[in-house]
């Protein structure tokens, strides 16, 4: 193969992984939330909050604290959603959409207030996060640079996939979460705190989404842009469904979306007979297809109490 082809493919694979990271992190977090019975449509809001506050944190406090700020911001968004849905019983869809709206606006608002000076052309930036190379492995042809010369968030995300699957399926906390999501009444009767479990899971989904958001601002561009999440929070929710609520499968869907993302930037200039937009549509069509087939065959592992508010009946 010609060197240039190798480079193009290698670049594509690298971009695929890089672009998949934010959405992968959010999807893993959302898996926990939905497994406990809460659909967190505020994920997009948490992501953009992470992107913005991560950026701000880095500007004022440096890289590591910046990432921490992003996580905290996302977690707070999750807390708000949890309070509305778990505590007050607000409809989960509505609560999530309102929170997303709020934080999309708040971040753009604050960005301008804090950094905009009339007449300034350039917005402040931070140097993109350093890439960490893993020796030896990075020299594997094609895959090497793609997989082993990336930023730390990507490594973290990839490690998180098997780790979260382990937690969910093999530890007692995962069992508690799953029981709350399947049959909250039975869990309550057994003495499990349904409310606390759901709170924690939704906060986790916010925190991870915030972390994913920080990847957007700190790794890809080095600054904040309005609405830079581009509905990735919602895509993460689609990924959870595609993955049948199993963290192990999220990576495939995330890579699929990352692939079409990477392709979009490259195909626009290439002459291909099939319009590139059809590639963009593919992940959604596939997901709908999976939903349909799984519904017909009854294999969908939707947590039974998803979107149903739980309130203890007592007299």
């Amino acid at each position: 193969m010609a060197d240039i082809d190798v480079m193009i493919i290698s670049g594509l694979v690298a971009a695929m992984f890089r672009l998949a990271t934010p959405v992968l992190l959010a999807a893993i977090g959302e898996t926990f939330a939905e497994r406990s019975g809460v659909l967190n449509l505020g994920l997009e809001g948490a992501m953009i909050a992470g992107a913005f506050f991560g950026f701000v944190g880095t500007v004022f406090l440096g890289n590591t604290l910046g990432i921490l700020t992003a996580v905290v911001a996302g977690a707070l968004v999750g807390l708000l959603v949890a309070f509305l849905t778990v505590q007050l019983g607000v409809d989960q869809m509505v609560a999530g959409l309102v929170v997303t709206l709020l934080f999309t606006a708040v971040t753009s608002f604050l960005f301008r207030i804090m950094f905009f000076v009339p007449g300034r052309v350039q917005y402040p930036t931070v140097p993109p996060m350093e890439k960490i190379s893993i020796p030896i492995l990075e020299n594997i042809p094609i895959l090497g640079p793609a997989l082993f010369r990336q930023d730390i968030l990507l490594y973290f995300a990839i490690l998180l996939v098997p780790l979260s699957a382990f937690i969910l399926f093999k530890t007692k906390w995962g069992l508690i979460i799953r029981s709350v999501g399947e049959n909250p009444r039975a869990a309550d009767v057994m003495g499990i705190n349904v409310y606390l479990t759901r709170y924690i899971c939704v906060i986790i989904s916010g925190a991870l989404a915030g972390l994913g958001g920080s990847h957007l601002s700190l790794v890809d561009v080095g600054t904040f842009r309005d609405g830079m999440t581009l509905s990735r929070g919602f895509i993460a929710i689609v990924i959870v469904i595609f993955a049948n609520w199993n963290p192990l499968n999220t990576i495939w869907a995330a890579l699929m979306f990352g692939f079409t993302d990477a392709l979009q930037l490259r195909l626009q200039s290439m002459l291909v007979t099939i319009p590139y937009q059809f590639f963009l549509m593919l992940p959604y069509l596939v997901t709908i297809g999976i939903l349909v087939i799984a519904s017909i065959r009854g294999r969908l592992e939707v947590p039974s109490s998803l979107m149903i508010h739980y309130k203890r009946e007592s007299a």
Partner: protein
């Protein structure tokens, strides 16, 4: 089945004593100064009709409800039970009719959850496996593999899981709520054997049931509840079924009012309205609920179906109005075969339905009284024209019905969620009756209502009957059935086990048929 004469030789120490327990809900006294005493190592039956107060009493014992008055003693010591956790910690475990297992998870998972606080971070089945093997030994219960998912198990196996879970949790007193309702005959035998083993080990069991046969074959002693009061505790081997029935139902029958006047010489046989032949249907869990049921009703009669809840009545009613598919048999209304037709087609035949689950099938909570009253008329010529609803006609109709049925609503615009239970039922009745149906199916029409509302509804049903309608009255309340029915059918385990004209009905005979159970 071993007779309970094989009384175990352990000294009869009292394990549980509930003293003067009282609990009232708005409008009804569920438990009225109830005394209950359960000894160590015995199977103690709790017998009574539905609504007698058995579930309430047990809910108090397990911490779901808090009693208004009364005390609970365990092994002689006074205990306080405020939340379910307290009861569990004291060793009081209940196995409900609706099993509280998490179906998607495995058996092992469900067991771990029972003692989740002590579980290690990483789930480990080995310790559980050995403990379970131990329990299997002790109690002779064969247990499904820990790795199977609960939804794959049969009802009998699920129940065994629940029982073992309670034992694993260290239950000292086990409460079983209608345990045989979900079991096959073979499984019932197995259960009986297991219970024997358990009490031999010193466990106490409270066995809630409405079936006489089970009381006789499972229990050592039995306490009968009727309308919230404890009627007495007897040793099973020393009492007969008829005696129990009398305690359960009472021997007074309400005044035989509102009867069809002995036919004024009209010799002609009335035409059959509803003809059910060999009908079968499954319940929500996929188990047979209606098993080859045959019955017919005539014009101008009230046919009361007596029976304890859970014998297929709910499913029967739903099949009759098209809300549930039947799996066999034929349904004929006014000569037309309507087996498995849609609710709409059946309604067109002149069938009206007063559902048992009022909130679920009877009303749309977000709409107004007036809008609920026309629920069945949404596409009829009387109310609609060219797809538009005539609002003034709707208002007139609503006002008329509000007046006629004495519904406590100042105007038809009142949101229906503000209506009390009794008025809600009157609304549903008004709606269904105003269609001048040929066949009215009324399931538990006076459940939870006060005397005034009950009497009113009864008189309306009689009025309807006199006007020619065939009324199928399904009720757990034997008084009600005997009070206004022309004929009485008894339903047990999905079949009709007897039909009597009401003047030949003997309450004890009916009570026995109702409580037939399995021998």
């Amino acid at each position: 089945m071993e007779p309970s004469a094989s009384i175990n030789t352990r000294a009869h120490q009292t394990k549980l004593r509930m003293e003067r327990v009282t609990k009232t809900f708005p409008g009804v006294v569920a438990n009225d100064e109830v005394n209950l005493e359960v000894a160590e190592g015995e199977v103690h039956g709790l017998l009574g009709e539905n609504g007698a107060g058995k579930s309430t009493l047990m809910n108090i014992l397990t911490g779901v409800y808090k009693a208004d008055k009364g005390r609970i003693y365990l092994n002689g010591k006074l205990v306080t039970i405020n939340v379910p956790r307290d009861a569990l910690d004291l060793g009081l475990c209940m196995v409900h009719q609706q099993l509280s297992l998490v179906e998607r998870l495995t058996v092992g998972d469900n067991l771990i959850l029972a003692r989740i606080r002590e579980a290690p971070p990483v789930l480990d089945l080995k310790t559980i496996e050995s403990k379970i093997a131990q329990l299997e030994e002790e109690y002779g219960l064969k247990f499904p593999d820990l790795r199977t998912r609960v939804w794959q198990l049969s009802m009998g196996e699920r129940q065994r899981v629940e029982i073992i879970r309670a034992l694993y949790r260290g239950a000292k007193l086990l409460i079983l709520d209608e345990p045989t309702s979900l079991l096959t005959p073979v499984e019932v035998k197995q259960l009986a054997a297991s219970l024997r083993r358990m009490v031999q080990q010193g466990l106490s069991i409270i066995f809630i049931t409405h079936k006489l046969g089970e009381v006789m074959s499972f229990t050592d002693r039995v306490t009968v509840l009727r309308r919230g009061k404890a009627m007495g505790t007897m040793t099973t081997s020393e009492v007969t079924e008829s005696q129990l029935v009398r305690l359960m139902i009472g021997s007074e029958i309400g005044p035989r009012e509102l009867h069809r006047p002995e036919d004024l010489g009209q010799g002609a046989k009335s035409k059959p309205v509803l003809e059910i032949t060999d009908l079968s249907a499954l319940d929500d869990e996929g188990l047979p609920a209606v098993r080859g049921l045959s019955l017919s009703t005539e014009e101008r009669e009230i046919l009361g179906i007596a029976g304890v809840a859970g014998n297929g009545q709910k499913e029967l009613a739903e099949v009759l109005v098209g809300l549930r598919k039947s799996t066999g048999g034929k349904l004929v209304i006014k000569g037309r075969d309507v087996t498995n037709k849609s609710p709409k087609e059946i309604a067109k035949m002149g069938v009206s339905y007063v559902p048992e689950e009022r909130q679920r099938y009877g009303v749309a909570r977000d709409l107004s009284v007036g809008e609920n009253l026309i629920l069945k008329l949404y596409d009829s010529k009387t109310l609609t024209k060219n797809g538009f609803i005539d609002n003034s006609k709707m208002r007139t109709l609503a006002e008329k019905q509000i007046k006629e049925f004495n519904i406590a609503a100042p105007s038809p615009k009142l949101p229906v969620k503000h209506l009390s239970g009794g008025n809600l039922q009157k609304l549903i009745l008004a709606r269904e009756l105003s269609q001048s149906p040929s066949l009215l199916i009324a399931a538990q029409p006076t459940g939870g209502l006060d005397v005034g509302a009950t009497d009113f509804i009864h008189s309306k049903l009689v009025e309807l009957r006199d006007a020619g309608t065939s009324v199928l009255l399904i009720s757990e309340d034997l008084q009600e059935i005997m009070g206004i029915s022309d004929r009485i059918a008894v339903m047990s385990e999905g079949k009709i086990v007897g039909v009597f004209p009401s003047d030949r009905a003997n309450i004890e005979e009916i009570g026995l048929l109702m409580a037939a159970g399995r021998k």
